[in-house]
């Protein structure tokens, strides 16, 4: 059966148009990832509107190409100018930039390309192997277990998404509150619609996402000075392939970091940045006698961080596709992309859309093969992308945000929602509120509310239903632990 699905996926992927989308997505991802401040999340949110009229598989391949390309390319400015292109490349600076200072930027980028490929491929295999198992187990889940999962998703996301637990929780809860606008799913009552017809179906959460990640980031950039941080790269990147000794040196650490990064990526809320820091830290612990030392230009440090952050991309798709619980903010947007096409991520997806799933799996694998090829051949050109002034890009992004919101329903009302979300997101960023929990709250709230209410109907109003289901109980306890642990840590730190 699986072989049959893979065969159909390969037929889908052989379509020249889908290949064009894949390559185009990778190029766009590399372009935006190479420019500091242009995150994968922002790029995908802004360009999501291009997928609305595509087939789900075409849209997902384009977005995954951007995702993989941006996470990979984030390492290029991290190595060359000590500024990560995307947050997930922050750990690459530690050894990547010292290599660049020694005049070995090309070597660092080549190692980063190989490690990104290894980490990405491992994570796609983890996705292919673990997703069916988890989805199969989750098919037995009923309302209490799904409520518990949504609760767990919200708590763990808030606990890992920023420096402040309280701000993360407020952000997540605000997202949940926004999700209550519209027709009540159980009674049909109009909640907070104020006789505005556009609000009957609720607030378009993609418009909110575009506002939070596009407009808010743009306003922040204008606040900081639109031309600030415009670094120039003049270093020539020569050569194509890494040396055999470098390959030998980075092979074990790339594989180890790929496996670890895939698991970390699968934890809801733990994105590429956390994965890269943990895999880098583990590499320094296991290989402490490495020469040169970590932090002084060790290629293994670059490999650990880059394999770890790219591995988180496939890992993040595991809970996204099997449970409908986003692994990070990018996968939250990918859920939005699927919902636009009436494809509901969750355990039922394996039975309803197996060919789409395997097209995503095989396509993501192919994306990493292309990233390897483009990364090797084009390193010198990608490095030049850093020189593009941000002042040329932001006005274009702002217009793409507006048209992206309008394209949702052909309605200017959604552009207002998007602008409102953007201004709120800007204010929240300035006050240290993380934005990712808000998006995840938006996605998880309907799952949480519907299943909470359904559970209570099943139990005749008794909340003990969550205690009698062992799975739900364990998941809820894990969620409570996810809030309690950082709180205890914070109290201890302040004591």
């Amino acid at each position: 059966m699986v072989v049959e699905y893979i065969g159909q996926a390969l037929v889908n992927l052989a379509d020249p148009f889908i290949l064009l989308l894949m390559v185009g997505g990778i190029f766009l991802g590399i372009l935006m990832g190479s420019i500091p401040g242009m995150t994968a999340t922002m790029t995908i949110a802004v360009l999501l509107s291009f997928t609305f009229t595509m087939e789900p598989s075409q849209g997902m391949i384009l977005l995954l190409g951007i995702y993989g390309g941006a996470v990979y390319a984030g390492s290029i400015p991290a190595i060359l100018i000590r500024t990560p292109g995307t947050p997930s490349a922050a750990a690459t600076i530690f050894d990547g930039h010292p290599l660049s200072q020694k005049g070995e930027a090309g070597r660092a980028i080549r190692v980063s390309t190989i490690a990104s490929f290894v980490g990405g491929v491992i994570s796609v295999f983890a996705l292919m192997f673990f997703s069916p198992v988890i989805a199969d187990a989750a098919l037995r889940f009923r309302s209490p277990e799904f409520f518990a999962l949504a609760f767990f998703g919200l708590t763990i996301i808030a606990s890992v998404s920023g420096d402040s637990l309280t701000k993360g929780m407020v952000s997540g809860l605000l997202g949940m509150l926004v999700a209550t606008v519209g027709i009540d799913p159980v009674t049909g009552f109009h909640r907070f619609t104020f006789d505005i017809p556009e609000l009957l179906t609720g607030v378009e959460f993609i418009a909110v996402m575009i506002g939070l990640f596009g407009i808010a980031e743009g306003l922040r950039k204008y606040s900081q000075g639109i031309n600030s941080g415009n670094d120039r790269v003049d270093q020539e990147i020569t050569g194509v392939f890494p040396s055999l000794s470098d390959l030998r040196s980075i092979a074990p650490v790339s594989v180890g970091s790929g496996i670890l990064g895939s698991f970390i990526g699968a934890i809801p809320g733990a994105g590429g940045d956390i994965a890269a820091f943990i895999t880098y830290n583990e590499a320094t612990r296991w290989l402490k006698d490495s020469v040169p030392s970590f932090g002084e230009g060790n290629v293994r440090g670059v490999a650990a961080a880059e394999s770890g952050n790219n591995a988180s991309t496939g890992g993040a798709l595991i809970p996204t596709l099997t449970l409908g619980i986003p692994g990070d903010s990018v996968s939250a947007i990918l859920i939005g992309a699927l919902l636009v096409h009436d494809v509901n991520p969750g355990p039922g997806l394996y039975q309803e859309e197996p060919v789409l799933l395997y097209t995503i799996f095989v396509g993501f694998l192919l994306i990493y093969v292309f990233i390897l090829i483009f990364g090797m051949l084009g390193a010198n050109y990608w490095a030049r992308l850093i020189n593009i002034p941000k002042s040329h890009i932001w006005p274009v992004i702002l217009v793409l945000c507006v048209i992206g919101a309008i394209a949702l329903r052909g309605n200017v009302f959604d552009a207002w929602i998007m602008l409102g979300a953007g201004v709120l997101g800007y204010a929240m960023r300035l006050r240290g509120y993380p934005l990712a929990p808000m998006v995840l709250g938006l996605i998880l709230a309907p799952i949480a509310e519907e299943n909470l209410r359904r559970s209570l109907v099943l139990s005749g109003g008794s909340p003990t239903i969550f205690l009698t289901s062992p799975i739900a109980l364990v998941i809820i306890l894990l969620g409570l632990g996810a809030i309690a642990l950082p709180a205890v840590r914070s109290i201890r730190a302040n004591a």
Partner: protein
């Protein structure tokens, strides 16, 4: 009586902590308004439509309250930011969306782009022309003609003057 009690609580919290967390205070007040509206929803058997919004709002009040009481160390260094450019760009964006139903997507984007580009210190006439005229037309063709998105045409539908695509592209 109630006002005195609120005053006493505020004294205890300290006006400084309220001032230092204006957004948290705003979220608390906003949640209180939500609770007011939600409490007027009709009740039903079991958990009604008001339960979730009220529970979530109480959660916001709780966590934002902790934030106000404990103060925050995670705020960005606001003094590093100049709010004026962000306010100008936000204002231009609002004007852009506001006039779009009147002027249509194409014309309003052609007006918006040079304003923002100029404000972003782009003074090259060629670049201004390409991004202000070429980019909106390209977007119009991609979204309006290929993706068949219903873009606002405005009172005078200038976009209809643009030629049709020579090829029909469908997905």
């Amino acid at each position: 009586m109630v006002i005195q009690r609120v005053g006493a609580v505020l004294d205890r919290i300290g006006l400084e902590s309220v001032r230092s967390s204006p957004l948290s205070v705003f979220f608390i007040l906003f949640s209180a308004v939500v609770i007011f509206f939600a409490s007027q929803f009709p009740s039903s058997d079991g958990v009604g439509p008001s339960f979730f919004p009220i529970a979530v709002s109480l959660g916001i009040i709780f966590f934002a309250g902790i934030d106000v009481l404990t103060g925050s160390e995670t705020e960005l260094e606001i003094s590093e930011f100049d709010f004026k450019p962000a306010a100008v760009v936000a204002g231009v964006l609002v004007a852009y969306v506001l006039v779009m139903p009147l002027l249509g997507f194409l014309v309003s984007t052609m007006v918006f782009m040079p304003v923002v580009l100029y404000y972003s210190n782009i003074h090259s006439k060629l670049l201004l022309a390409v991004l202000s005229i070429g980019f909106p037309i390209a977007l119009f063709y991609i979204f309006g003609r290929i993706f068949l998105v219903r873009l606002p045409e405005g009172i005078i539908p200038v976009s209809r003057l643009l030629p049709q695509l020579p090829l029909v592209v469908t997905f």
